[in-house]
């Protein structure tokens, strides 16, 4: 495909492969050579082989072919005039010797090379002015851009200076697996690589990442960042359930939930599309039971006081609703792939979006009008019918006199002055039936919520507590293994992890849809970008469920964030079946959430969705990227070993 001059300079050490047939006498330039970034794909396709002894780009530029050579041939010395021997590297390409570490060393022999982030030794053309080798010399900090810098002197000044790795005898405050924040690029004379990071870190200098330097300096001087819990915390009161049965009247007493079996009739009347509603109870020891495809898993929760995300919510512990569905013709509804089969084989029990091993499952099976299973109205009718039953239980739970078994309180704590991080969760919005309901009247309910598709898929901000309080009801109709159910949002591990992280200021969760129309995709992506730009973020994590066409939005969202110089980590299922078809340079720090041995969407509910381990890797990777520490590029093929290695690091942290 040929290369530009700049690209050729960046790939001087890569094999030289002719992009097109070239004749004897051709003086080789970058325009004759194939782009090395696609060698692996060409090799996989059997279109290219690179034998040992092949020459590099740097070797062949300016050399002359001594015979006609076919396209996609790796050049060898025998093909070049006077080229029987591989030319010495120093002769290559106008003297730009591959690997400039040597050159730097020659320029400043007395100075240990400062290991500044981003200086890849293999880059070939990288160079920098070597600083004088004076311990305690000037600290040079390069900042590409800067926002909101507040510096107050002199209170922390001596302490600050003492933290600099450049000072002889000073202890660098960085260990291998724990460091402090840095952004931009810093070079510190005489400092080792680790100290180079820490010096910049201690200064809190960051333009691109935009950390508040005031906070960093304050921390160095022993001042605390300003931590402020939300005015109205959220309290979840959990009521223990030991037994669930069907009966004549809905009640909750002494750990026994009785559900009026006639509620199925009430549910049936909720929509003319609903033709039949069945309900049964599946206890933990009866999991080997056939089930239609699982559309959703939902908690039973009701607001006792306050709005979604604050006040008090009552929740039944160890009980979930499981919605399954068919159409009148017996067709499994609404899935891209479906998970009908034996329940014990078709759900990844214990995942945030699945039932837990010891949960009692109330199964509601809804039959809807034929041929509406893949239209928006069909699945919505099924969810609405199920919610009629859940609502009757909510009404009873709200009025209960029972004592809660335990409570959990969430404070939505803002840690102002610390790096500002937001979570972007991409939700479906295609073909309308791939929808989500935002902020229903009751936690995880249906009624009163706004439909993501009707909102035009534009970004909507929720507080972390709104998410954890059932602010999302998922109609999501993508593959069972990779979809995020209503319960997933209720227990979203990334929200929990970021909210609990005392090193950051977690500002909230942006939900953004994945539209069906390409133009709308661009529109939505740009709206997200504007939000991100206005929020003065220091870091963001973007997640998506499913795979395929939504990866276009996913890539767009990451570019919209990364393009605004905000460090960003992407979280997705990709593995084998979901390999990305689009990408950009900002997708350089990615978390894989596949859990299938073969890397497929295996139609086991919630199998390959985000779990706490994935969240811990994403969290560590983001903070590492925010600190300016390089994340090694991904291998071209999905590798469980890479994931395991990252997990080990996350577990240590």
């Amino acid at each position: 495909m040929s290369m530009s001059k700049e690209k050729a300079m960046a790939y001087l050490n890569e094999p030289a492969v002719l992009c097109c047939q070239r004749g004897k006498g051709t003086v080789i330039s970058e325009a004759d050579l194939e782009d090395p970034t696609i060698f692996a794909d060409l090799q996989d396709s059997g279109l290219l082989s690179i034998p040992d002894g092949s020459l590099t780009v740097g070797d062949v530029l300016g050399m002359t072919l001594n015979a006609d050579v076919e396209a996609l041939t790796a050049l060898r010395p025998s093909m070049l005039e006077g080229g029987a021997a591989k030319p010495a590297p120093s002769a290559a390409a106008g003297g730009a010797a591959p690997g400039s570490v040597t050159a730097c060393g020659a320029a400043a022999p007395a100075a240990p090379a400062p290991a500044t982030p981003g200086f890849g030794a293999a880059a070939g053309t990288a160079h920098f002015d070597a600083p004088p080798a004076l311990p305690g010399g000037p600290v040079t900090i390069h900042v590409d851009s800067l926002q909101g810098l507040d510096i107050s002197f002199p209170a922390g000044w001596p302490a600050l200076y003492g933290l600099c790795g450049a000072v002889p005898g000073a202890e660098a405050p960085v260990a291998a697996a724990s460091g402090t924040a840095a952004g931009g690029a810093a070079s510190v004379p005489g400092a080792s690589g680790a100290a180079g990071f820490s010096a910049a870190s201690a200064l809190g200098a960051s333009g691109a990442a935009g950390f508040s330097a005031a906070a960093a300096l304050g921390a160095a001087a022993g001042l605390a960042a300003h931590t402020a819990p939300a005015a109205n915390p959220l309290t979840h009161k959990y009521y223990s359930v030991q037994n669930v049965k069907l009966g004549k009247k809905t009640s909750f007493s002494s750990g026994t939930l009785t559900i009026d079996s006639a509620l199925t009739e009430k549910a049936l009347s909720s929509s003319p599309l609903v033709k039949q509603v069945e309900m049964d109870i599946i206890t933990p020891e009866k999991r080997h039971i056939f089930t239609n495809t699982i559309m959703d898993i939902m908690p039973v929760a009701v607001k006792c006081s306050g709005k979604t995300g604050e006040g008090t919510t009552a929740i039944l512990d160890r009980v979930v609703f499981c919605l399954t569905g068919l159409d009148e013709k017996g067709v499994q509804i609404h899935e891209f792939g479906s998970c009908e089969g034996y329940l014990d084989e078709k759900a990844a029990f214990g995942r945030p979006g699945a039932p837990d091993d010891d949960d009692i499952i109330v199964r509601v099976n809804v039959t809807i009008q034929e041929n509406t299973g893949m239209e928006r109205r069909g699945p919505l009718a099924a969810h609405t019918a199920c919610d009629v039953i859940v609502q009757s239980i909510r009404d009873v739970l709200k009025a209960t006199d029972e004592a809660p078994a335990f409570t959990k309180t969430y404070h939505d704590t803002r840690r102002r002055g610390l790096p500002r991080v937001c979570l972007v969760k991409e939700i479906m919005g295609q073909g309308a039936m791939h929808d989500n309901i935002l902020l229903p009247n009751e936690p995880a309910g249906v009624i009163g919520g706004q439909k993501n598709v009707d909102l035009g898929n534009v970004p909507v901000m929720l507080t972390p507590n709104e998410v954890l309080d059932g602010g999302i009801h998922a109609l999501t109709c993508i593959g069972p293994a990779t979809k995020e159910t209503t319960r997933h949002y209720f227990r979203e591990p990334l929200v929990h992890a970021l909210a609990a992280d005392e090193e950051i200021d977690f500002i909230g969760v942006i939900f953004v849809g994945s539209p069906q129309v390409n133009d709308e995709k661009m529109y939505v992506t740009e709206r997200l970008g504007s939000w991100i730009g206005s929020l003065d973020l220091d870091g963001a994590i973007v997640t998506t469920e499913g795979f395929g066409n939504n990866h276009i939005d996913f890539a767009g969202h990451i570019a919209a964030i990364g393009g605004r110089n905000v460090p960003v980590v992407g979280v997705t299922f990709s593995a084998y079946q979901g390999q990305l078809v689009v990408g950009n340079e900002y997708m350089d720090a990615m978390i894989e959430i596949n859990k299938d041995a073969g890397g497929f969407e295996n139609e086991v509910l919630a199998c390959s969705s985000i779990c706490p381990e994935d969240a811990s890797r994403a969290q560590l990777m983001l903070k590492t990227k925010m600190a300016g520490i390089p994340i090694a590029p991904a291998e071209r093929k999905w590798s469980q070993a890479v994931i395991d290695g990252n997990q080990w690091l996350a577990d240590q942290a």
């Binding site: 097109c20 066409n549 590492t624």
Partner: protein, 241 residues
């Protein structure tokens, strides 16, 4: 301020660097569609000026009713012998006319285009050649644009023009001998028969294979649902020069 970090982390998902997606969904059956074929493989009329094989962003009009005996190739990036035997190996005009006559497709664009993508100037193709060809095809009422590359750089030039057509509101597919290049350059749809550079549309003088590749590719325009999809086709031809 402290951030818990780690050295040695590695990104877990490979992301190819591609241009932004472009996508025009097909909204009618093939039997009602007007089809255009374009090629970056250096095809032109014998009476026209040949391409400059060192790099040329100009293009040549090819009337869809012209006998294929009046077409030829000028391209320095690959062995020309297959096209010299049968121009349908790169520009399957005879096969397209047969598909039209049997009703598989609705009609053919009156004017189609050949260009020589080898060593093509990216900016010129992006800013001039691509939009010009796209505008002409759109003005003819074309619904689907099928294209072939040629060599590696030809695939790049072909995809640039293909993307211009897609942006102008036509559904496109490239029959790619080098699918990794088509994918990296951002082709909206890719079909990939096992064919060498120079016979991108199938073995010369093998109408059955050429027809099958065309039909499969057109059917893929109907069935593919999102940007960047690629389908390997089960046809194999090797030539040894």
């Amino acid at each position: 301020m402290k951030l818990t970090t780690a050295t040695g982390l590695k990104s877990e998902v490979f992301a190819p660097v591609t241009p932004p997606p472009v996508w025009t969904p097909l909204k009618k059956p093939l039997s009602e569609c007007k089809i255009a074929f374009i090629t970056a493989g250096g095809i032109h009329q014998k009476k026209q000026d040949p391409f400059n094989t060192a790099g040329d962003y100009s293009y040549r009009e090819i009337p869809s009713d012209i006998p294929t005996s009046e077409l030829m190739v000028t391209h320095g990036g690959f062995d020309n012998s297959d096209i010299n035997k049968d121009v349908n190996a790169m520009f399957p005009l005879d096969r397209l006319r047969e598909l039209r006559d049997e009703g598989f497709i609705g009609s053919l664009a009156g004017t189609m285009y050949g260009f020589m993508g080898g060593g093509g100037n990216v900016d010129k193709f992006r800013e001039e050649t691509g939009p010009a060809i796209a505008a002409s095809l759109k003005a003819q009422g074309v619904d689907i644009v099928v294209c072939t590359g040629g060599c590696g750089t030809c695939h790049r030039s072909a995809v640039i023009v293909e993307r211009a057509c897609e942006e102008a509101g036509m559904s496109t597919i490239i029959i790619a001998a080098l699918p990794p290049i088509a994918r990296q350059q951002g082709a909206p749809r890719i079909s990939a028969p096992h064919v060498p550079i120079g016979s991108n549309a199938g073995e010369p003088n093998n109408p059955a294979m050429q027809t099958a590749i065309l039909k499969d590719s057109l059917n893929l325009v109907v069935s593919m649902q999102h940007f960047g999809e690629m389908q390997v086709l089960p046809y194999e031809y090797r030539h040894n020069v």
